[in-house]
Symmetry: D2
Subunit: 445 residues, 4 copies
């Protein structure tokens, strides 16, 4: 643990390591600020994908008109428009009138294509940008379709503005022309990668016993754990070798034992804990949140929450609650808000940990940096399993010993701003949460 | 408004502007992560400053012992220790026994120096690091002393751990030796620069009238304001020239007027508003928070909250509440928590806006990026003034037309971590807020 | 609607009807106060029932010792003690050593009896009082056993004081002797009667259609509903007769229609709603709360909450939340507290309505008088069912058209106070919620 | 402590004391329910008082028209109307046109009278009922005018419905005629009597020392206090006699000392505390709340909260917060709501204790029965004073040793219901708090 990342050879008085760090932090802030404000010019987008609320028939006609407008409106000095991808289900929809289109516009047939979920998963770069028609749910559905790279999304609402949908479809031609010709501001909405890890038998295990025990000492006050050697088997065998495994504590190093022991004092508690390996099983990108709750069980057991900043792996807290929400800033206006979480600007690189009906008064909504990897674990000895859902979709069961790991995704979801990210966000608070509603008159400085 | 910050000449399919942005954001996250974890090696610090809770006599003896230990313990291959700065008030303190020290240790007389608030303000780089003895209040006092650069602080508590004081003074020799010889992890705690702006008469004003009027149109729903030309004077003069002033709205451009008018529809409200100039008057660095409240008034008027990301200046909300807290992440465990704000890890670059007893249910605690400049304004037409305090110190009155501006400071306060920033922070939650208290037994993955 | 409950014949100036009411209210308050403070002398109780945490083997020995003490200690001038009822499961428990008891104490055999849940249900008055050993859960279990009259309960804890268990078992002989000989203060804890109503086909229904439609007009702002005549059947039949049914609106009277129409103005919305009969199916007494949530469904539909004060039946609100808790004051320190409900003294005759993760910021915890009958309804057209649990026990499904009715029970649960009801309650807050914990020193007037 | 309030001579098995209590409680509930629903017939009211928002000129004309209507409309078979009292300030108001009225309606001159605050204070029964025009503030002003008996109030709003003003002035003739001719439902809104007690020198005090000391033992965990004898004076005098004084603990009785000592164990702490007498100084009736806060001080010291149910006087908690609200149920929708208090139906006989920005997470909004007398004390040793305001009016300073006592008032404020108390209250939640706003469609059982 002795790396000396930034040993300074320069004379101290001029730039101390601290000052150096402070300057770096300043640069980071400035770059972050610029990314947030960046206006990018599109390099003549050639293809657009249209996504609507699944199953809403009334949107088929709107989709048809929009597709025709895209295909027919001349762009970039050429006589025709751009390629449009619509949902393959429309191929057979009466309202979409595919045959009439083919009859009336033979020159455009090449420009109309159909997307499938598989195409989104395998060739996301086919689409230069996406137009969504609907509410926040349609943007969430788009996030679900694109589990790796996501093309930029222009989200239209159909009457009532949502948190994610600033554009009014009534003026779509104006907004789309502006975006394609004058460039856009892009809001890179952070997504979280959620990986479900399943418990598997340890490497030295015979079939009969899939869990081994290790000697562990934990501090009863801080919950800090140090993990020592494997326990001797009761049958009189020698100690087993130390092996790789998922162990949530610091592996104790010989030279540090003495210090640890002293610091813990009477709070130290020796235990034998089950140690086992877990393997990644499933992976999801979420735009809003993941929620762990009792699912179909009648009872919610305690969860263990761990965090790692890459160097240290730390037990954060034991969750005694009805459930736990881990939300992105984008998700701060969704379920997390119901649980009492704060409104969080989408530019803040944080994870919101919001307990659902916590059983202690001290477990308040908590924000940690999104550079931390969180792990939510169902203890091996838990009386019950837990269930986890991703952006409100598909529930997955977490059995005893399983956990889900949450990290900032490399694949954010880019949405186009109407004015700017901050402007759009505060407007959505006004409209959706009735901010400022009581006000009647206002004065200005 | 047509700057094209990142026009790409490279072929689009390979790196779209969006992908480019996402990659930049990834780099920012990685750098931020490294800064958080950085372990720096001090380049043989030669001088230490000792700060204790002001007025606590029982600490004088501890200070004396600590100073002697620093001066006498050989460092860096030399026979003697390092220079120590203690509070100049100790020069005359009986308990400090300066004369006895001078008699007993004539060789060390040069190593004992005395600090004054003036010295801290003018020569902060004299001190290679600072040791504080006391609670969180002593660290806040240190922040108060250093209004620009702050040397790194090693904060010791004297029995009960605080949010800012992880080190136990009972083991100070061990901790200080470790820090000086093996390097430290530094927690750059963001401070906010708070600047009070006072209203002054406008540039074209005769003495009799210090405020001029401009035509303004505001959207009654969104609160968005566009500012037009100066009003004609009633005396029949021509329109005055447009001049620079503090006006919280977009100066309307001719080409955009039509669009604005249409978008607002019936919600547009035409007004004449007073326009005037404000000038910066006072400046404070805060480590925890600034609080605006009614102070000595019996009544709290409404405040106007504006935010600027450098490009746009935006009305965020009208504050109808008993007061408003703007807290740093470090301050999230202080007053903001009483107001219902979330626990916020000190690495998150955010400002916490926490209303005190808000008069509407929709004004929830809100986090904005610390790249935003906030302005809290007392409207020119307010029925009452407001008061603002900085880290709980000195109240300043904000009169009608005044405002206070809050920005991330260029001068963070560096504190030394005991283990790591995250580890220290979660430990302080456990100890100070009784996190995890209900738990009796715990299982591990 | 013209009943004149308290027409005064006395001259107005002396006692106006208002003054008269105020005086009545004063009397009610005084009587309520006395009931709360009443100290009752038991008339030589002859039988005690012992209840422990089910399944906790370590309590068998304590139960045996306590039973022996009760049977052997002379009471009321007689040489022997009182009759004891223990759990019939102990008859076969090794640890209880029934045979040894029978051998050693043949004179006491008549005094040892065994209770079964059936006996509690059918002959609750057999037991002059109850002793519980355990935590709050044991008291809840006792409430569950006695669904009508409950004998007075002396609740002992076994180490850590709970909200319902003020007595320390370590001093049980002292406390029990005091109670039997000197009388007790009794805390009549209100229970709620929860009745599940199931939808049944209407009276005029053929098998094919079990729901009929009526013309209804509702005010879109207030949610107020007036119910008119049955809809004509489409087949051309005449209007059906008006029949009794569960309809949550005011049956419109001819003379009032005009006024209603005017008041609603444009907010009136005409609808056809399904009308049907519901019948009571199950009934439970709860001591803490009933909870309606999504149960095993993945989705929680909206619920409708109605209240009746005996005269008017009123739509209170539409519940858009993850669930709804209706808690007694006793339950205010249990699940309701997790949902953000207030601490409520057990003497307050109120129902606590606490939403779980409400989807709107305006739905705050709400208290209504326990003289109001609440009905929580799953709308006939809901997309999903709901589940309801009673004191955390047994989940019951509420299907579309079903509802659960909550009223103050005629059968409160009497618990013996340690000192007084208020004293016990505030002590439990101190111990269980760490009230007053931060305090170090205290001054007195 | 052995009073046996309800010794039963009747055979136990038939009506146990517990059952007897339960039946009493049932009767109380039934009476309370009836009071809440009572519809009273007025005995031909002869005089009405009109109160409007003070200083609102636009209301003068409305007042004039209303007064004329009352005076001119024939009632009770007589040719003329009833007597009207208007604000004496209108005598000289130009808009009220008193002289024109006198000229035009000489026959009505006797029917127009003028009220003054003094008249309200001394002869409240002159007014058979009151009409208020304005918002909730006007009803609060009415409460302020009548510090003892209050005539029934019919509260009209002028456009936007408030929590206390269900009647729309646009239909005032209809509503007033209905009320006078058909009777009304009356909502007896509980008010609190707030008495400020000031510290005075003790009875045995010489001028030099106005505070004496007594031996006190307090339990450090529960905060419970027992008060023993007066301390010996240091000058060697004998123990002083025990005298009457304000001492917030149980006076220890000889026979109980031993028990107390044992129970406290190691938690007992012996102290000498100042004892002194306090005398009542000022008294206010509040309709909404009283608020204790730091007032003009920069710092809020801790407060001590005591409660008495008439028999026991108990330390409830030490208040470490920015302030404390004690609200009536009527006040639950006012300031208490900003502090996080629950919505509380006005029929619930409770006091809401809502802390303002509490410094501990465990001090949650708390309801106690309104049969409890609360005392909020500024400790004798407090570093600062506190300030208390009543319904937002006039601040009074509480110095060290002072306290304010809060009890349910014998003088409730009767307001006329529009439909019924519950109906009116839930409607006001809908209108004022946007309950039910999100809902679009609703289904009915």
């Amino acid at each position: 643990d002795n790396p000396q990342d930034s040993k300074m050879s320069a004379p101290y008085k001029q730039t101390s390591p601290t000052t150096h760090l402070a300057e770096k932090a300043d640069v980071v802030r400035e770059v972050a600020r610029k990314i947030g404000r960046a206006r990018v010019k599109w390099d003549n987008p050639q293809s657009v994908m249209i996504i609507t609320k699944p199953g809403d028939l009334s949107l088929v006609r709107k989709t048809r008109q929009l597709a025709l407008w895209f295909m027919r409106t001349p762009r970039y000095g050429k006589p025709s428009g751009i390629t449009v991808y619509v949902d393959e289900k429309l191929q057979k929809s009466k309202r979409f009138k595919l045959e009439r289109f083919q009859a009336e516009s033979p020159d455009l047939i090449d420009k109309l294509k159909f997307w499938t979920p598989e195409l989104c998963a395998t060739h996301p770069k086919l689409f230069d940008f996406i137009v969504t028609l609907g509410g926040d749910g349609t943007v969430l559905f788009t996030s679900w379709l694109f589990q790796s790279v996501v093309p930029p999304v222009i989200p239209f609402h159909l009457g009532s503005l949502g948190f994610l949908t600033p554009f009014d479809f009534d003026h779509h031609q104006y907004h789309l022309t502006q975006a394609m010709e004058n460039g856009v501001r892009i809001n890179l909405r952070v997504r979280f990668t959620c990986t479900v890890y399943r418990r598997v038998p340890g490497p030295n295990c015979t079939k009969a016993k899939d869990v081994q025990l290790r000697n562990v000492k934990r501090n009863t006050k801080t919950g800090k754990v140090i993990v020592g050697d494997w326990c001797e088997r009761k049958m009189g065998h020698k100690k087993t070798q130390k092996v790789f495994g998922e162990v949530d504590g610091d592996d104790v190093k010989e030279e540090n034992i003495q210090q640890w022991m002293e610091e813990d004092g009477e709070d130290g508690q020796k235990m034998r804990v089950p140690c086992f390996t877990t393997v990644p099983a499933e992976k999801y990108q979420v735009l809003n949140d993941l929620v762990v709750d009792r699912g179909q069980n009648s009872f919610m057991g305690e969860l263990e929450l761990f965090g790692s900043d890459g160097a240290y792996d730390q037990h954060l807290t034991t969750v005694a609650a009805d459930g736990l929400i881990v939300a992105t800033p984008t998700g701060s206006t969704a379920y997390s808000l119901s649980g009492g979480g704060p409104l969080t600007h989408p530019d803040i690189p944080a994870m919101l940990i919001t307990p659902i009906c916590p059983h202690t008064l001290s477990f308040r909504p908590t924000l940690v940096p999104d550079t931390i990897d969180l792990r939510i674990c169902v203890p091996y000895t838990s009386r019950s399993t837990a269930w986890v859902s991703f952006d409100g979709r598909g529930r997955v069961e977490l059995k005893q010993g399983d956990h889900v790991k949450v990290t900032a995704s490399r694949y954010p979801l880019p949405t186009i701003c109407k004015k700017s990210q901050s402007d759009d966000w505060f407007n959505s608070l006004s409209r959706c949460l009735h901010w400022n509603e009581r006000q009647r008159q206002k004065s200005f400085v």
